[in-house]
């Protein structure tokens, strides 16, 4: 495209400078639109921003809460980064989160008397298996029948919500409660909290471990190589002896297990019971986080902390200024669009050229 002596050309390679610039611009743009939204709600942007920062980073304890909030987001972000790396579009992390939470809770109901270390292991394993099973269905259908996994994972999300609503208003409902929720899990299943004065729990450490593990898997193992190969060129990977169908199922199972751990960690680490509102769309926020981190599992960690801060900051902003907390949902969508657009723009450069004569 040519405008006078300016010409827009594709770059030969996109380096880290362009990528970083795109990221910074995307976040700035999202912040600007977010401020605009606050202003249209009739609130002082400055007052809102002050409440926001106070609620996300105010002091050590508050920042601890931000890390608590980012814990499930690290899990779902890594889950989606793995799947998207193989170009397997797992939009079902939300359902897998609840499948994991359900399975973890089921373990505590099934074997309530176990000693604590065994109980904790069982809860963690249950959460991973629950999420993995829920993700395996769309994985197998994609690998075996070519069924579009965006559609099937979204459908699995809805099905999970109805399964859970059935349990929580039926056989699992806390008999002493009017709400659709289970009883508290036994003390032995509580994740230990390890930083005095904060609610930081075992789940956070586990999430960091998973991010590091996923990074290692992708960079240093054959499986990781195969996942990346399927993602960059599936037919070529097949010619090179990669079993594409198996890799698709495997990456879905891994992704589901991670999303399931998010659910188990929220139940055992934070809420100590199962309710339908223990996730405010962590599975979908994970998509934005993964893309913000450019599908790098280690990059997911700071991105997740950023969105944990967004959620907590917005809550305190609502209390202080009345701006609806739904703002977080809007900002998430805006961020995603800007990240996609600026990433694409980073592939081009503007050059001055001599006009053709």
């Amino acid at each position: 495209m040519t405008l006078g002596t300016l010409q827009i050309q594709p770059r030969l390679s996109v380096g880290w400078r362009e990528q970083t610039a795109a990221l910074v611009l995307a976040l700035l743009a999202a912040g600007a639109v977010g401020s605009l939204l606050i202003a249209t709600a009739g609130t002082s942007v400055l007052a809102a921003a002050r409440a926001f920062v106070q609620g996300a980073f105010g002091d050590g304890r508050i920042f601890g809460e931000t890390l608590v909030q980012s814990t499930p987001l690290i899990f779902t972000g890594v889950a989606i980064a793995l799947a998207f790396r193989a170009r397997v579009w797992n939009i079902g992390a939300e359902g897998q989160f609840f499948a994991g939470a359900t399975a973890a809770l089921w373990m505590t109901r099934l074997l309530p008397g176990l000693p604590r270390p065994i109980m904790l292991l069982l809860v963690i394993a249950g959460a991973a298996v629950g999420g993995a099973v829920w993700a395996a269905v769309p994985g197998v259908l994609r690998a075996r029948y070519g069924s579009n996994e965006v559609v099937t994972t979204v459908m699995m999300n809805f099905i999970m919500l109805f399964v859970l609503s059935f349990l929580l208003t039926g056989i699992w409902q806390d008999p002493g409660s009017f709400y659709a929720q289970t009883e508290r899990i036994p003390d032995s299943a509580y994740f230990p909290r390890f930083v005095p004065g904060t609610r930081l729990h075992l789940g956070f450490a586990l999430a960091l471990l998973c991010a590091a593990g996923a990074f290692f898997l992708m960079r240093r193992t054959v499986v990781g190589y195969e996942i990346r190969a399927v993602g960059s060129n599936a037919p070529a990977a097949r010619l090179n002896g990669v079993n594409v169908a198996t890799t698709i199922v495997l990456v879905m199972v891994l992704s589901g297990a991670l999303a399931g751990l998010a659910g188990g960690s929220e139940v055992a680490g934070l809420h100590h019971r199962l309710r339908l509102d223990i996730s405010t769309g962590y599975g979908f926020t994970g998509i934005i986080i993964a893309l913000l981190a450019r599908l790098n599992p280690l990059g997911v960690v700071p991105a997740a902390v950023l969105f944990g801060a967004l959620i907590n900051g917005s809550t305190s902003m609502q209390i202080a200024t009345g701006v609806p907390v739904a703002l977080t949902a809007a900002i998430q969508g805006i961020t995603l669009i800007f990240v996609l657009a600026f990433d694409a723009l980073a592939r081009y450069r503007i050059r001055t050229v001599r006009p053709d004569v």
Binding site: L141, V151, M156, I159, V163, S165
Partner: protein, 314 residues
């Protein structure tokens, strides 16, 4: 159980089928045109949701249902422009662009709804009077068929009429031929000096307007109120219908009627009080969408270049 066999019940069930099929049909026909032009529009869920929201808000404020329909289509077409810009101009991965549209629509509608109605709970949701059904003169007097097909919303008649219309345009007009070539071999058009981008923009905007109208139907003809994420995956079901229908308008109609019947059945069985857990009935459309994708996996008419951004030099 005797209630289930009465003619009144069956007529009501089948009329419900046609009614519930409408938003799915509108969305799926729009998606069909978009995909024929080579663009995979997964943002259809967000476009329907936006249509449902702005349609409701416009009617709530102005009191005019048809202004609501117009607003539903226009607002969704803005998202369509964004989708076309991302996928055709910037060549962003179309799956990601579509997801972005969905998350954006979900967040924005939720936020604006909360800003507009700060103190509403489930008990005092703002609502509007919905469209009345219309009897087609003479045809509505035919026994059974008249009550099922010819006593419906105007939007339903439009949706049904669009099935043969879209077939005709796609297969019997020059513009339709160009559109289909776009999804197969866009280079052919480009080499003849015809703009690929302009046609793709037009197709995506048309598809998004249809999705917006489908979403508008949900609030303006069915619910009469708005709830966050009120579309409940119907956009994705409409998307699946295009695959299920093997990219043919006639089969898409059959699919839409099937899912309309399921939704109608849910409502009627709940009213009669069959001893099935409510959640099982509610989960049925989602389970059947997965089943439909697996059972009907003919892709013989899938556009070859679907989802592949067109690059001239390639």
């Amino acid at each position: 159980m005797s209630e289930l066999l009465q003619t009144g019940f069956i007529i009501s069930l089948l009329a419900g089928m046609v009614r519930f099929a409408t938003p799915l049909l509108l969305g799926a026909l729009g998606e069909l045109v978009t995909e024929r032009a080579g663009i995979l529009n997964l943002g259809i869920e967000g476009m329907m949701l936006t249509g449902a929201f702005t349609g409701f808000m416009t009617t709530f404020v102005t009191g005019s249902l048809w202004l609501g329909v117009l607003a539903a289509m226009l607002s969704a077409s803005l998202l369509g422009l964004l989708m076309a810009f991302l996928s055709t101009t910037l060549r962003v991965d179309q799956v990601l662009a579509g997801l972005g549209i969905n998350i954006l629509a979900s967040g924005l509608t939720f936020y604006v709804f909360r800003v507009a109605f700060r103190d509403v709970g489930t008990a005092n949701l703002p609502n509007i009077a919905v469209f009345q059904r219309v009897r087609v003169p003479l045809l509505a007097d035919i026994p059974f068929v008249g009550q099922i097909v010819f006593t419906q919303h105007v939007l339903t008649f439009i949706a049904l009429a669009l099935v043969p219309t879209i077939w005709f345009v796609l297969y019997r007009t020059r513009q339709g031929l160009e559109l289909r070539i776009l999804g197969e071999r866009p280079k052919v058009l480009d080499m003849r000096g015809l703009s690929v981008a302009a046609r793709q923009y037009a197709a995506v905007v048309f598809g998004s307007m249809m999705a917006g109208a489908g979403g508008g139907f949900l609030t303006l003809a069915s619910a009469g109120l708005f709830l966050p994420d009120i579309t409940q995956g119907r956009g994705f079901i409409a998307f699946a219908l295009v695959i299920f229908g093997n990219w043919s308008a006639g089969r898409i109609l059959l699919g839409a009627l099937f899912f309309g019947l399921i939704e109608s059945l849910q409502l009627h069985l709940q009213a009669v009080g069959v001893g099935v857990p409510q959640q099982l009935l509610l989960a049925l459309p989602y389970v059947l969408t997965i089943v439909a994708l697996v059972v009907a996996r003919q892709t013989s008419r899938e556009p070859q270049s679907l989802g592949v951004p067109y690059v001239r030099s390639a």
